[in-house]
Amino acid sequence: MTVAELVDAGPLAGAHMYGSGANPVHQVRIVDELGVFADVVPHTAVVLIGAAASGGWAVEMAMRRAWEQAAACVIAPSSALSAGSGEVLAERLGVTLIFVDGDPLVTAVEVASAASRPEAARTQLVARCATRIAEAGASARRVLGVLNAELPGTSVAFLDRYGTRLAGRAAAEGDSASGGERVLVDMDLPDGLGRLVASGAVRSPGWPSVVRTVLGLAVAALSAWAAGERLVAGREFAVQEALAERLLAMPEALLDAEPLDTVPEQDVPGGVGAGAMPDVRAGVGAGVVAGAGTEAFPGAFPGAVPGVVGDVREALGRAAALGWAVHGPVSGFVVRPVGWQPDPAEHAMVRELLVGALGAVPVMRRGEGWAGWAELGPGALAVRLQECARLLPRAVAAGAGRQVERLGAVGESLLGAEAAAFTARAGAVARADRMGPAELLAALPAGVLRAPAEVVLGPLRAADKDGSLLATLAAVLDGGGALRAAERLGVHRNTVTTRLERVRAAGYDLEDPATRLALHLAVHVSR
């Protein structure tokens, strides 16, 4: 058995090793003072205690003597010497140095026992991990718990494909400045599931490969866990989306005729028993819809009550149970991806984030994006959507619709939201109730218009030394009058009038609607 094998998986697991560790170990010698070295024979693991381990100088002298006697390695308590100088000297002398945290006498006994029966301790470690991972089952948290417990001195984390830690230790992510720690293994998992990252000190040259083998054992368990999670999330999403679409498709009059609170709970017909409702509500409130809750809403709504009124009541009941706004006032929202096409996992992610930011709301697919409604007014809604856009790892634009008094009118609000989302830039949220010329102008493709805009503005730029004419013109066109423009620019009204005279003098007829429109577009594009 070599020194490295003792460290990788044997009795010295968890110790720090400096040097190659390639020497075989045949026996162990406990050394408490340097004089003893005279009888140390080659291939001895020297365990330092007492005076011989009493400080950096003592350990360094011991390493020197170990080198002279061709010992296999020196084992010292980790408190005896700083890692830096130990490493340098181990390399210079070619003597492997091992730091142990525990009692060196116990270490000596364990090393002696391992040296006498050199079966591969590494195999034992791998076998033990395999058993414990199998016992952990399809739970990411438990599997990572096993990895972190069984791999001494090593931190393991399970990251999703965006780098967010799903389970395991933060220390594994590697960028922490702790001395001596580095990423040992960074393993991609199949099906875009993410990565397993292990970090720690390199305790021996063979250690990363041991870690890689053990992490490999966890892949199957993590894949099984992910498949289960996706199934639950996907099914739940589909069910809720179908419900929302159904509500939207219902005749407005029916939706608004009977506010839900006039419908006694026991009158809610259909497959949902009164007793099941509180469970679902609790699930939504906690932000996690339990599998058992979703089971109560089979996708096809079997056994729907005959008659449209009953159908409406039933749908409203389910929506209320999910915590959605069903009374009004409500506002619609639309979120669209900018420059990418979401895959199913990303649909689920956006939905989770929207629900996280807006509370319990319906989320439906709209084109490539998503739509829904919330109890919030457009202002608050826009703020929350903004928050959501910030959290998403990919670019989206969003629109908040006008607030409508009744759920029946939400379709109209959604149209506004869609238009607003179209005008919004990536990362921004636009409000339908605030859509004016500025927002419409913002939606124009500025790049295409820039060259013609400069042609329109040419004569103005020639007369405009310091940019004040352009700024004044922009303020007048945006603000709708000289007085408001003067306020905005912080100048006297007469100054604005004088500057507009200079604009006219440059050849622009500001009374001509066509000229005004052309100028307005050009000014906007040139900003």
Binding site: G56, S85, L89, R92, L93
Partner: protein, 341 residues
């Protein structure tokens, strides 16, 4: 003769191998010496004095930091020596240094100037040791007591005790005086002194402190450069001296040699550097003096101020032959600092 003209050279020479010299106290004693030196202090060989001349060693006892903070009243050297004279019943005819490191070289000069007596050319260590009894005077059979201490607050103590109890009694007394005192000790005849001192060291410092002079001039028994390198680490140390009554805590300095064999040099310090290992093999140890000299300004680096990244030269100055005798080793060798080698 050390007059105003020689003072700067003597002061510069006193810092060539001196460790533990706090800037403030050194400046202070130098300014003080400049103000009292007058026409100059004669420097004489011990043998040139009448054999029965009473000589005393004068030294700062205690903390240089405390001296830099609580300034002397100015009469401490005279009060200490006069107190000893009263005890001895005779006049002191010459002052000698205990060691010649920084303020400890200058303070005997101040005493000699104030007392209007000569300064003997030589000292009691040929280097510096932390304890009052670690001197060649002790090795020569001279007792450190009776010993007088004068403090900055007007305190005056005359002490008699067995030589091995001096440090234990003096330490708390000095602390009670605010952390430092001027000590007058080792009263002896010029004849005894001539047989016990390391001779000629004052003259050597005057020579070595001249601008452009070789540092080796200050090392009468030889010196060598152990290595040039960069400090890689400064660690608290353990395993030696924890139970010893030494004035500071042990530490350990790791130097990586930049040229040559690129050895890893470890310096074990306890008040001063007492052991040097190169790749684990002992290459220098007390009683020889091991010091770190900064490559930046050629000044000796205080052990407390050594910091990773500093470029240094590790120098070894061979101690006077008497330190390499069995008794010398016992008093000032590496075992006296608690290293079991």
């Amino acid at each position: 003769m050390i007059g105003a003209g020689e003072l700067a050279r003597f002061a510069a020479g006193s810092r060539l191998f001196a460790t533990g010299a706090a800037e403030s106290s050194y400046r202070l004693v130098l300014d003080w010496a400049g103000s009292v030196i007058g026409p100059g202090v004669p420097v004489v060989a011990a043998e040139a004095l009448a054999p029965e001349t009473v000589c005393v060693a004068v030294s700062l006892v205690g903390s240089t930091t405390a001296l830099g903070e609580q300034l002397p009243a100015g009469d401490e050297p005279v009060r200490a020596v006069r107190a000893l004279e009263r005890r001895l019943g005779g006049r002191v005819g010459a002052v000698v240094a205990l060691n010649l490191a920084a303020e400890n070289a200058l303070l005997p000069l101040v005493a000699a100037a104030l007392l209007e007596v000569p300064l003997v050319d030589g000292d009691g260590t040929g280097r510096v040791f932390p304890l009052v009894e670690q001197t060649t005077y002790t090795l020569g059979g001279v007792s450190a007591t009776p010993l007088a201490l004068a403090g900055g607050g007007g305190e005056l103590v005359v002490l008699e005790t067995a030589p091995d109890r001096v440090e234990a009694v003096v330490r708390p007394l000095v602390l009670a005086m605010g952390g430092w005192a001027v000590g007058a000790c080792y009263p002896m005849s010029a004849r005894e002194l001539a047989g016990a001192l390391v001779p000629g060291t004052v003259g050597r410092l005057l020579e070595a402190g001249a601008p452009g002079a070789d540092r080796a001039v200050a090392a009468p028994y030889g010196m060598k450069t152990l290595c040039r390198g960069v400090i890689a680490a400064v660690e608290g140390s353990s395993g030696h001296g924890a139970d010893l009554e030494l004035p500071s805590l042990p530490s350990s300095i790791v130097v990586e040699e930049t040229g040559g064999l690129r050895r890893l040099v470890r310096l074990e310090a306890h008040n001063e550097i007492v052991l040097a290992l190169a790749d684990g093999a002992p290459v220098a140890m007390a009683p020889d003096l091991i010091c770190l000299v900064s490559a930046a300004d050629q000044l000796v680096v205080d052990v407390d101020k050594a910091a990773p990244g500093m470029e240094v030269e590790v120098m070894v100055v061979r101690a006077a032959p008497v330190w390499h005798t069995e008794r010398g080793q016992e008093l000032g060798g590496v075992r006296a600092f608690g290293v079991p080698l």
